[in-house]
């Protein structure tokens, strides 16, 4: 094979020095002038692919300028191709006018006067040409000109912008990200019309070649963080394509942690707000979720509604979510610890009614709780993946039949069913799904600790969780800030939300180079 390749390369370009590595050679090969030779070069690469269309025609009635258009079916907008490329080239070519300028400038002339599409680029190396074809661009090759044109009329079927399914809000905007990277960038652009909003693009994946964009605001984001994020993405050496989820796993600081360290969101308004706090957003082509770095623990418990509603309501819901987090991790553990070990800490009246309800249940309280916990985990998992009508059925079957019937059959006490139900509700009360997943995983070890060591196990579990949270970092930023390290200035947007007009400075937990966020509110009307 190697010998063939060498020969082939030699034939194509005699100037190419074989001392360089072959890959370099391939990249440096200039395209030949003759159209037939270009086609010959391309042939081994495209002959097997039936989705690649090559269309040859003359743009001149005298047939001395042959043109070949190459594109991949389904990746381009055929209407635009026919109307703005093929028709223009075939019909509007004015030979006399063009000939005056000479052949050298012909390609510029064509791109300037004939092609009525936005993105046109000249390509002169073979490797570039090949890549452009498979990136979905349309290639126009001319006979007698070494350069070829690549035009971006990518299109085809795509999903419309729709409401984000996993992050609904009451008062927020109703648009969510889609799969197309350019649409997504535009969605953010619409929210921040600032020349300082920088969009940088790169390509990740050797074969999959996913477009990945970095968005940040130049005069807010800390350049060190931007650099670090870009370096980490550049280090991804993956064969296939990447999606937001896989980028997250490649670049996060502590892959062995249960806790999500990079926030993924489907909401452009959320991304815009985070960018304005000095963070970097990573948009990858093909996934409707955008990554935000650095992310802190508090962000996972924030919902856009906290900011859209009035302060007291926003603070209330925010606080509720912290309670939900605590309960989702530890409510079954507390129940088991108190009932199994420290009964004396339960108020007398309560323990009487609890004991009454557990009278005929044959299992110890820990076993009962663990069984219920496993069942509810299975119901959640089933419900998430099934289509909506079926999912509801599972919910009904799981909730009523398993719960009610288990109590009637004396296999579970009503108390433990209530506890499990409250815990499950708490799991989904948190604003982002990734933190819900973390609590789902954490619950079982906590339950086991509490059922072996009672309250002591419970506090041991939390000590380790806290130590772990405190040790986490996201792009080098302490993850559990503003709690530890305590940043008093940022507490106003943590477990409660202060008035929007009081947040004059950006959060200090996220390094930024522009502290001031907004001016003071003029409150002359109130004395």
């Amino acid at each position: 094979m190697k010998v063939f390749k060498k020969l082939f390369l030699n034939l194509l370009n005699k100037d190419c020095k074989m001392t360089e590595s072959q890959a370099d050679c391939l990249e440096n090969i200039k395209l030949p002038c003759k159209l037939t030779k270009k086609m010959e070069m391309l042939k081994p690469h495209i002959i097997k692919n039936k989705d690649i269309v090559t269309r040859s025609f003359y743009i001149d009635k005298d047939k001395d300028l042959q043109v070949t258009v190459i594109y991949i079916v389904g990746l381009i907008d055929t209407n635009i191709l026919n109307r703005d490329v093929l028709k223009r080239l075939m019909m509007s070519y004015n030979r006399k006018k063009m000939k005056k300028e000479g052949t050298k400038l012909l390609i510029d002339q064509i791109s300037r006067t004939l092609l009525s599409v936005g993105q046109v680029k000249k390509v002169d190396t073979f490797a570039d040409l090949l890549q452009k074809i498979f990136d979905g661009l349309t290639i126009i090759m001319f006979d007698g000109l070494s350069e070829v044109l690549s035009i971006d009329i990518r299109g085809g079927q795509e999903r419309d912008i729709s409401e984000p399914t996993r992050e609904n809000t009451l008062r927020g905007c109703r648009e969510g990200f889609v799969e197309n990277i350019d649409v997504n960038i535009a969605l953010v652009r619409r929210k921040i019309r600032d020349p300082k909003l920088v969009v940088e693009k790169t390509i990740v994946g050797r074969r999959g070649r996913t477009d990945v964009a970095f968005l940040y605001i130049e005069d807010i984001a800390d350049p060190r963080i931007v650099k670090e994020v870009k370096e980490r993405v550049a280090k991804i050496d993956i064969d296939g394509r990447v999606c937001a989820g896989s980028i997250e796993q490649w670049i996060e600081d502590s892959p062995y942690s249960f806790f999500p360290q990079i926030l993924a969101t489907e909401r452009p308004d959320k991304v815009a707000a985070q960018l304005l706090e000095g963070r970097v957003a990573i948009i990858s082509n093909g996934t409707p979720s955008v990554l935000i770095l650095p992310s802190l623990f508090v962000q996972f418990l924030q919902s856009p509604d906290d900011y859209f509603e009035r302060t007291y309501i926003g603070s209330f819901t925010r606080g509720l979510r912290y309670i939900a987090f605590f309960l989702a991790v530890s409510l079954p553990a507390i129940y088991v610890a108190l009932l199994g070990f420290q009964q004396e800490l339960i108020p007398f009246n309560l323990i009487v009614s609890l004991a009454e309800s557990r009278k005929e249940v044959p299992f110890p309280v820990a076993v009962e709780a663990i069984i219920q916990e496993l069942i509810i985990q299975l119901i959640i998992e089933t419900g998430l993946r099934l289509p909506t009508p079926l999912g509801q059925t599972v919910g009904v079957v799981g909730g009523i039949v398993l719960g009610q019937a288990a109590i009637a059959a004396k296999l579970a006490s009503p108390a433990v069913v209530i506890i499990t139900a409250v815990t499950t509700i708490c799991t989904f009360a948190m604003a982002t799904s990734s933190i819900s997943m973390a609590t789902r995983i954490l619950r079982l070890p906590m339950l086991i600790l509490a059922s072996t060591f009672g309250l002591f196990g419970f506090s041991l579990g939390w000590l380790i969780i806290f130590a772990h949270l405190v040790s986490l970092e996201s792009v080098g930023v302490p993850y559990f800030a503003p709690f530890a390290p305590m940043r008093f200035a940022d507490l106003k947007d943590s477990f409660y939300r202060n008035f929007t007009w009081k947040m004059e400075n950006r959060p200090v937990s996220i390094p930024n180079i522009n502290k001031k966020r907004q001016g003071k509110k003029d409150r002359k009307d109130k004395k």
């Binding site: 070990f341 004396e344 800490l345 060591f453 009672g454 000590l463 559990f480 709690f483 390290p485 305590m486």
Partner: protein, 366 residues
């Protein structure tokens, strides 16, 4: 020491580390220990006793200023020569390990008595030491942050105690100064042990980023510790009176039991949930400093071998903590360790200072 972000702390974190190291199991028995000598004037003794750790902090800080990048191990080998320096450092490390063994044992005993009466002490200690090892091997930065977080939980604990004030009898508190000067001074010695923990500066000084704030940080921390101790002692005296306190090994825990709040009924729950943090914290801090010193003593690479050393030190603390057969013996050892605190906190820096003065000429050359 090389600049290493895993072993870098801010001066603010130093405050919390010092608080976390000092306020250990001792706080539960402090009212008894002090009021045994100074009666209802225990709080005066506590305030006066703060001078001991302050003096120690001042001396260590001065040493740190002289050698800003050296921990105690490096300092000792520089000042005392290889042989004596090694002995000096070994003494320091042994002290840390013994001290934390006692804390671990006492913590486990209390946990056993109040939370898990059926579970053997060895199992409880093992659970605590496993979490300690997990946390300590993460390095000084994480330890600093955790100390900070746990400090706020401790504040919550103090709030729980405040609930018991409705049972307070102010006559228990009077006459102020009635115990007499002699008794108060006699109480200084046992009280000073409660401040054991300042010696951690020997290890952490090179890690602090803003060295000029170390002195201030220490005094703030000691001030906060003093306020804690005084509050706890005063509440105990007010609620129980000096005589009753003597009947309890851990009067502060009894206080938590006394509290009766409607609906929840017993606040002990909250106290005990946070309690583990109070036990684990000093063990974490000193396990870290012992392991760090040991790594330096054995001339190992901090980045590579520190975690291993933590495991070794943790296991050692665990094994030693199981040696005393009963609580009375543990309390006796606790007193011995208290004496050795004075050696480490006062005699050690004093010795180093003396050597610095005597060897002034030689040090300048090197």
């Amino acid at each position: 020491m090389k600049a290493n972000s895993r072993f870098q702390i801010t001066s603010k974190q130093l405050i919390f580390i010092l608080i976390g190291t000092s306020i250990a199991t001792g706080i539960l028995s402090l009212p008894r220990v002090v009021s045994a000598e100074a009666d209802q004037d225990a709080w005066i003794a506590i305030i006066l006793a703060t001078s001991v750790p302050m003096l120690s902090w001042l001396m260590i800080e001065r040493l740190g200023r002289r050698f800003p990048n050296l921990t105690i191990v490096e300092m000792a080998s520089l000042l005392l020569g290889k042989f004596f320096g090694t002995i000096f450092s070994i003494g320091f490390i042994i002290y840390l390990i013994l001290f934390e063994s006692v804390v671990l044992r006492l913590g486990s005993e209390i946990t056993s008595q109040f939370v898990l009466p059926q579970t053997p002490i060895s199992v409880i200690s093992m659970l605590i030491i496993i979490s300690v090892i997990y946390i300590a091997q993460k390095g000084a930065k994480v330890i600093g942050r955790l100390n900070e977080l746990l400090f706020y939980f401790l504040l919550f604990d103090l709030l729980v105690l405040l609930f018991s004030l409705n049972l307070a009898d102010s006559t228990n508190f009077f006459p102020v100064g009635g115990a007499g000067g002699g008794k108060i001074i006699k109480a200084l010695l046992p009280t000073a042990y409660a401040y054991a923990g300042v010696e951690i500066l020997f290890v952490t000084y090179p890690m602090v980023t803003k060295k000029e704030e170390v002195l201030k940080a220490g005094f703030i921390a000691l001030g906060i510790i003093m306020i804690f101790y005084v509050t706890v002692t005063v509440i105990s005296i007010l609620v129980m009176g000096v005589e009753v306190i003597q009947y309890h090994i851990w009067p502060v825990l009894e206080l938590a039991k006394v509290v009766d709040v409607p609906v929840i009924e017993r606040l002990e729950f909250f106290f005990l949930v946070v309690w583990l943090g109070v036990v684990a914290r000093p063990v974490i801090n000193h396990c870290f400093s012992a392991a760090f010193s040991l790594t330096q003593l054995l001339k190992l690479d901090v980045n590579k071998h520190y975690s291993l050393m933590v495991i070794a030190v943790g296991c050692l603390i665990y094994v030693i903590s199981l040696i005393p057969s009963n609580l009375v013996l543990v309390l006796k050892y606790a007193t011995y360790v208290g004496y050795s605190f004075l050696i480490v906190a006062i005699a050690y820096p004093l010795l180093l200072h003396l050597v610095v003065i005597l060897q002034k000429g030689r040090l300048k050359k090197s």
